[in-house]
């Protein structure tokens, strides 16, 4: 033992590099590469925004927001798509909220550590990775055909509910897990039943995180396109959609329709529609911040 530890092995000899300045220089080179990568990402985002804004802003006026689609780009408007997107977003939020939160409560507060529970958890992680277009195919088979909803806005909204449910569940589970056990134990000590503990002590503390998750999921639903193509978001709709009637469109579908036309004016109104989508998403993100701040005032741990 003593012989081998006293003598330096050839391997450690090879690892030791006395040229400190050189070693520090390679570190600086690496750090520059990191900063370059971040600059590239920032630049890409900036170019995207500049491209969309310069093309779209000239077409963005009240006639555009309040008008209906037209074969003449200068006369075209997005009101049916705007109303469709808002309706879908609200239905998605209202439906995904109870199911998602209930599922998260079960998985965090009730579920015993059994095979079935592990299956439920793994399944949610895997569902979050299923391509969105696959949900569209499922929505076509179940909501459009089997439940006879037809190509209605409701069929589209329910398809998106399934798509964002894993996101809502995961966000709600994180919010519930962040509530310390002392909060629960305090309520039990006062004689509360399990459901009373959850309703009175756990949910209020988890509410900021849960609400943030729901609002961000609604924001994601506004930007979704691919699954809605399968459940019939048709592209030329000149009337305002109602949930159960056949025929609706949403903003991203309108973007898709116009972006595939070669004429520059159609590209420009596609860009203008993108601006509306991005503004809606931005507003929802701001709403999430406000809701989070307001609800957090009551959480004191």
């Amino acid at each position: 033992m003593s012989a081998s530890s006293a003598a330096r092995t050839p391997a450690s000899e090879a690892l030791f590099d006395p040229r400190l300045a050189r070693r520090k220089l390679s570190g600086t080179v690496f750090l520059s590469a990191c900063l370059l990568a971040i600059a590239v990402l920032l630049l890409a985002l900036l170019l995207l925004l500049i491209d969309v804004l310069t093309k779209g802003v000239p077409f963005l006026d009240l006639d555009f927001l309040g008008g209906v689609p037209s074969r003449i780009p200068a006369r075209a408007g997005i009101l049916p798509a705007l109303v469709g997107s808002l309706e879908i977003s609200v239905i998605v939020g209202v439906t995904a909220f109870p199911i998602g939160v209930a599922a998260a409560i079960y998985l965090v507060e009730y579920a015993p550590d059994t095979f079935i529970t592990r299956l439920l958890r793994t399944n949610i992680a895997n569902l979050a990775g299923v391509p969105s277009i696959i949900y569209g195919i499922f929505g076509l088979a179940v909501f459009v055909r089997a439940l006879h909803l037809g190509y209605s806005l409701m069929a589209g909204a329910l398809t998106l509910v399934l798509l964002i449910l894993p996101v809502v569940i995961i966000a709600s589970m994180e919010a519930l897990r962040a509530v310390p056990d002392s909060q629960r134990e305090g309520a039990y000590a006062l004689g509360a039943t399990r459901w009373q503990v959850i309703r009175g002590a756990v949910l209020p503390s988890a509410a900021p995180g849960i609400m943030t998750g729901i609002i961000l999921a609604m924001s994601r639903a506004i930007g979704e396109t691919a699954p809605l193509i399968l459940v019939g978001a048709v592209t030329f709709v000149t009337f305002l959609p109602t949930p159960l009637e056949n025929g609706y469109t949403v903003l991203p579908i309108q973007v898709y329709q116009w972006a595939t036309r070669p004429q520059a004016d159609f590209q420009a109104i596609a860009a203008a529609t993108i601006i509306v989508v991005l503004v809606l998403m931005l507003l929802l993100n701001l709403l999430a911040l406000v809701v989070r701040a307001r609800l957090s005032r009551h959480v004191s741990w």
């Binding site: 520090k24 570190g27 690496f30 750090l31 990191c34 900063l35 990568a37 971040i38 990402l41 920032l42 890409a44 985002l45 170019l47 995207l48 491209d51 969309v52 093309k55 998602g100 209930a102 599922a103 409560i105 079960y106 998985l107 009730y110 579920a111 299956l119 439920l120 399944n123 895997n126 569902l127 990775g129 299923v130 391509p131 277009i133 696959i134 569209g136 195919i137 499922f138 088979a141 179940v142 449910l165 894993p166 134990e185 039990y188 039943t193 399990r194 459901w195 930007g223 396109t225 691919a226 193509i229 991203p252 973007v255 898709y256 972006a259 590209q267 596609a270 993108i274 989508v277 993100n285």
Partner: protein, 304 residues
């Protein structure tokens, strides 16, 4: 939740049981969805395989669903999908990992608070917007000047670039988590041996986080293969077997969009082929997700 925070009483009122049953029902929606997806895809694909031999489908190298003679060999669509995913990863791995290392090892809290929102914004941009960007900016303004007329309006390179941009935040955020999970003690040990910061990152932190980083890359691959609208707008709908990134191909997702947004009748063989293609896509992405989750689960236990 620990057993200490369970109620001591054994009497559970019926209303409490009802609540628990309802909550369990909600938690099962995910499993019902998964089973439903598999059943729908398999049932409809079997219908398709009554008309087309599954071996011919999986090994055929010609895909022609809209022009006679109809041929249903899925290889061109799978290769088209892989073309996009590989170029996407060539972009996203260096960008995402450099960003992750910077965020986990170098960035101060202030710079982190600037960079994180940028990454989250990129991740939140609807993919159709990235497709628009590819078609309107990347191809005409960046690629045309570089390649001249050799490059088409729709091409693999533009699709790969935007898909790479799209999955970069995923790699960056998951790899950052993996790097942060490496215990401080490992780094401090290396510093005590006289290592520089870069040597600690390269020889200690990065190798220790490697499995988590691998998992993020696999997940990004799955995400890239399932990406739809960005690819439809950037790369087009030309189902040819090609490795030339300047040409247009068709991915599996783009084919599904083409069939479902056209006026293809629902009972036709073309429409049925959609389900067989979707089954292949579902199988491939699910396989990658399962591998990635397994790696993460194993990694989580290592340092706790």
């Amino acid at each position: 939740m620990t057993s200490a925070s369970r109620p001591l009483t054994r009497r559970v009122p019926p209303s409490e049981r009802l609540v628990e049953a309802l909550l369990f029902l909600a938690a099962s929606v995910g499993v019902i969805t998964t089973v439903g997806i598999v059943l729908v895809l398999v049932a409809e694909a079997l219908d398709f395989f009554r008309a087309v031999n599954p071996i011919d489908f999986l090994t055929g190298t010609v895909w022609s669903a809209s022009i006679e003679p109809f041929r249903f060999g899925v290889i061109p669509l799978v290769v088209g999908t892989l073309d996009i995913a590989v170029i996407g990863l060539l972009v996203a791995i260096p960008l995402g990992l450099l960003a992750a290392v910077y965020l986990a090892e170098y960035a101060s809290l202030r710079t982190r608070n600037i960079i994180k929102p940028v990454l989250e914004t990129i991740a939140g941009v609807p993919t159709i917007v990235l497709g628009f960007f590819a078609l309107n900016f990347i191809t005409p303004r960046l690629l045309k000047p570089l390649f001249g007329s050799d490059i088409g309006t729709f091409n693999v390179l533009a699709g790969g670039l935007v898909v790479g941009l799209l999955v970069t935040p995923l790699i960056a955020s998951l790899s950052e988590d993996a790097l942060r999970a490496v215990p401080r003690g490992l780094r401090e040990g290396a510093y005590a041996m006289g290592a520089t910061k870069w040597e600690v990152v390269r020889k200690v932190a990065f190798p220790a986080a490697l499995s988590g980083i691998m998992a993020s890359v696999i997940l990004a691959m799955s995400r890239a293969m399932g990406e739809t609208m960005a690819v439809v707008l950037a790369t087009g709908m030309n189902p040819q077997l090609s490795l030339d990134p300047r040409q247009s191909v068709q991915t599996m997702t783009a084919f599904i969009v083409q069939i479902s947004s056209g006026d293809t009748p629902q009972g036709s063989i073309q429409f049925k082929s959609l389900f067989a293609v979707a089954l292949v896509l579902f199988g491939l992405t699910l396989g990658l997700n399962v591998i990635s989750n397994r790696i993460v689960a194993r990694f989580r236990n290592r340092y706790s």
